[in-house]
């Protein structure tokens, strides 16, 4: 083995061809009649999965590949493995490759785990003797001692995956390709896999790690490449690449939330005459019902009610710098701005807001009455802002209620779930709220670190 790089990818382009069924029939006929079997098989449509991808992975490096679904990550791995060939460009891999792409792809359901381990091992390039030596390691790692002589069709998908992982990792490769396989393991198995991967790192093996789990990528990778639409967007130090990637994702999500907001504004923004007449006319109350969302089980159950003696005309979410947005970080702050108008002088009013998560659980709720603001008067156009210094919410989508009502609860204008925002975070913590916290340990407690 010579050369500094374990994997060299030179200007790789992969174009997939789509054949339509009509076309297939035509070619079969022409293939028979004219005999131009190879020439006539021209595709109808081309899909470029990778375009001019160019990078090298030095020996001993753990290299992350990130990107959205369909960005070409799996195609790249397939080309490196040799399963498919690049349309253009060249790939050089030095050393024995083992790919954790589709675990247990070669398993036959009817025969036992034991027999499958042997056959799978042979497929992955081991000799019978080598498998024999490693057999007990493989089974122990997969935690399947009891089931190894049962047909594989009786395995759960988790057991299947464990056995596949265990065989592939025991091939003892120089280059290990890992494609999103850790996502399916149970809580006990994933750390074991990560341990094994860490073990490979220590032994200076080259690892190419494809994952959507950005925190793991950041933790274990020395370098990261971000693929977008088949091209390299950024390559470099993990933190920097992942941040850029997250920003790009946030930008896209921002658009989605923006669109939802526009739709909601159009749907509920107009002051509806029927609402005003509600009490005086029985007939129109039917119309009122119809002006509510048609289905109570509607996704987020957005609603707006109240006679709007005081109307909430506009609600904006902005960050602490004053920039309107919908995607926030856990440790970021948020200001909720409201424009309201009171059509007469009113003495009894309370402003309130509530934050709900996607399961409909209220994460927080407050109003001016609870916080002991005593209402005196409101008249004309006014503005209200509520500044949240730090959101401290976990990953997820949140919905916002804003309302103005009387002290006794009579609503002037109630906006239910009309506004939404997202909190994105690399943390995997659970619950509904993330209190600011810090861990400390005495010196006898030690943790493994992935990077020395």
């Amino acid at each position: 083995m010579t050369g500094k790089y374990a994997i060299e990818i030179e200007k790789v382009t992969k174009v997939y061809q789509k054949y339509s069924s009509r076309h297939r029939f035509k070619t079969f006929k022409s293939a028979l009649v004219k005999g131009d079997l190879f020439k006539s098989m021209k595709p109808d449509e081309l899909v470029t999965a990778l375009e001019g991808v160019n990078f090298n992975v030095p020996k001993g490096m753990t290299f992350g590949v990130i990107g959205e679904n369909g960005s070409g990550k799996s195609t790249l791995l397939k080309i490196i493995t040799g399963i498919t060939k690049p349309t253009k460009g060249r790939v050089t891999v030095r050393g024995k490759v083992s790919a954790l792409i589709e675990l247990g792809a070669g398993f036959h359901p009817e025969i036992t785990g034991r027999e499958n381990v042997y056959i799978n091992g042979i497929m992955l390039g081991l000799s019978k003797k080598e498998i024999h030596e490693k057999f007990s390691d493989i089974v122990r790692f997969a935690e399947l001692e009891e089931f190894i002589d049962a047909p594989v069709k009786t395995y759960s998908s988790g057991m299947y995956m464990k056995l596949g992982f265990s065989v592939a990792i025991n091939v003892n490769p120089d280059v290990l390709l890992i494609d999103e396989v850790l996502a399916v393991g149970d809580a006990g198995f994933v750390p074991k896999c990560l341990d094994k991967i860490n073990d490979f790192r220590r032994r200076k093996k080259t690892i190419l790690f494809v994952s959507h789990d950005l925190s793991t990528v950041e933790k274990i990778c020395d370098q990261v490449v971000w693929l977008k639409n088949g091209k390299i967007k950024t390559l470099g130090e993990p933190k920097r690449v992942i941040d850029a990637y997250l920003q790009d994702i946030a930008g896209q999500q921002e658009e989605v939330f923006e669109q939802r907001q526009q739709r909601v504004n159009e749907e509920y923004g107009e002051k509806k005459e029927t609402v005003i007449k509600k009490t005086s006319d029985e007939k129109t109350s039917v119309t009122v019902q119809q002006s509510l969302p048609p289905d109570e089980a509607d996704e987020h159950r957005e609603q707006r009610w109240g006679k709007r003696e005081i109307e909430i005309k506009k609600v904006r979410l902005i960050d602490l710098k004053g920039k309107p947005k919908h995607v926030f970080q856990t440790d970021e702050g948020m200001i909720i701005e409201m424009e309201v108008e009171s059509y007469s002088r009113i003495k009894d009013f309370v402003f309130g807001l509530g934050i709900f998560n996607s399961q409909g659980i209220q994460c927080y709720g407050t109003n001016t009455l609870m916080e002991e603001f005593e209402a005196k008067s409101i008249e004309g156009k006014c503005e209200i802002a509520c500044r949240i210094e730090k959101l401290s919410l976990i990953n997820g989508t949140y919905y916002l209620d804003v309302a103005v009502h009387k002290i006794d609860g009579y609503p002037y204008d109630y906006h239910r779930n009309l506004y939404s925002f997202m909190v994105s975070s690399l943390n995997k913590d659970v619950g509904i709220f993330r209190p600011e916290h810090e861990w400390s340990f005495s010196s006898k407690i030690q943790f493994k670190s992935f990077k020395d």
């Binding site: 054949y19 490759v97 790919a99 589709e102 070669g106 036959h108 009817e110 025969i111 992955l124």
Partner: protein, 278 residues
């Protein structure tokens, strides 16, 4: 040509894999059955019994050949049907094998050409299980039917006939498996073609039938069919106890080798498209 030789070296290199896949195939086939491997014997035995009854008591008496002995005719029939079953099953399975085992081609680095080899080999082993039944039937006719042709030394050429069939089927299987990926119609065409082919091969009738011998057209047609010479090879060595037809069988072997080269060439040309098409 050099590349082709290298490719064949590769197949040799994968012999352990082929071996274990064949044994997996055989194990999986009867897994869960009570009789297990015995089925490999029972299937041809039952077939043989059915032939003896149908041709012995129902149709048989009207056939003048084989000294008027319907049981002899049943044995003759079995002589051809057994290897034909191997050929037909292997061909049909070859046409499907790349799609059925698509996971291997798509998901792991796997030498696709060994799949048709595995199909052919596992069906070959099945055929081999039937051979003792065939010989048992032969023994019974020798013992109980007067004037029945006896065993002869020419039986030693039986493996040679099998080799010719193996080579020819391999070429056919390679071609079929590669082309079916692109033209799925082949599966259906093949099923019909095999029925026609069966009757166009001297299996249920001997080549020596007067009607065939009288018509030059018939004879030429049958002689152009490689399976004819392979089937006659079985009939000569087992049923008649005669010498094989060296020349015709050698030509058939040559045809088989050419077919393997063509099949492999096509397979190799289309290989890169498999992961995307299956």
């Amino acid at each position: 040509m050099l590349k082709l030789i290298n490719n064949f070296k590769d197949i040799y290199k994968y012999r352990v894999l082929i071996q274990s896949l064949v044994s997996r195939e055989l194990k999986a086939r009867y897994r869960g059955t009570v009789l297990g491997f015995l089925w490999s014997f029972i299937n041809p035995l039952l077939l043989m019994i059915i032939y003896s009854i149908v041709f012995g008591f129902i149709i048989g008496p009207r056939i003048p050949a084989f000294g008027g002995s319907p049981v002899l005719y049943a044995l003759f029939l079995f002589c051809g049907v057994l290897p034909w079953t191997w050929f037909a099953a292997a061909s049909i399975e070859s046409a499907n094998v790349l799609m059925i085992q698509g996971n291997l081609i798509k998901k792991i680095l796997f030498p696709a050409e060994i799949l048709p080899v595995v199909v052919l080999s596992s069906n070959f082993i099945h055929f081999l299980f039937g051979v003792p039944i065939l010989l048992l039937g032969k023994l019974l006719t020798v013992l109980f039917i007067p004037n029945a042709p006896g065993f002869s030394i020419y039986l030693v050429f039986l493996p040679l006939v099998m080799l010719v069939q193996f080579v020819f089927s391999l070429g056919f299987g390679l071609l079929l498996s590669a082309l079916t990926v692109h033209f799925r119609d082949i599966k259906d065409i093949l099923a019909n073609m095999l029925t026609f082919w069966f009757f166009a091969t001297p299996i249920i009738y001997p080549m020596t039938f007067p009607i065939i011998q009288k018509s030059a057209l018939f004879r030429t047609f049958l002689n152009l069919n490689p399976m004819t010479h392979i089937m006659i090879g079985y009939q000569n060595t087992v049923f008649y106890g005669e010498m094989i037809r060296w020349k015709k069988l050698s030509v058939t072997l040559l045809v088989g080798i050419v077919l393997v080269i063509i099949g492999y060439y096509v397979f190799d040309k289309l290989r890169d498209s498999f992961p995307e098409e299956v």
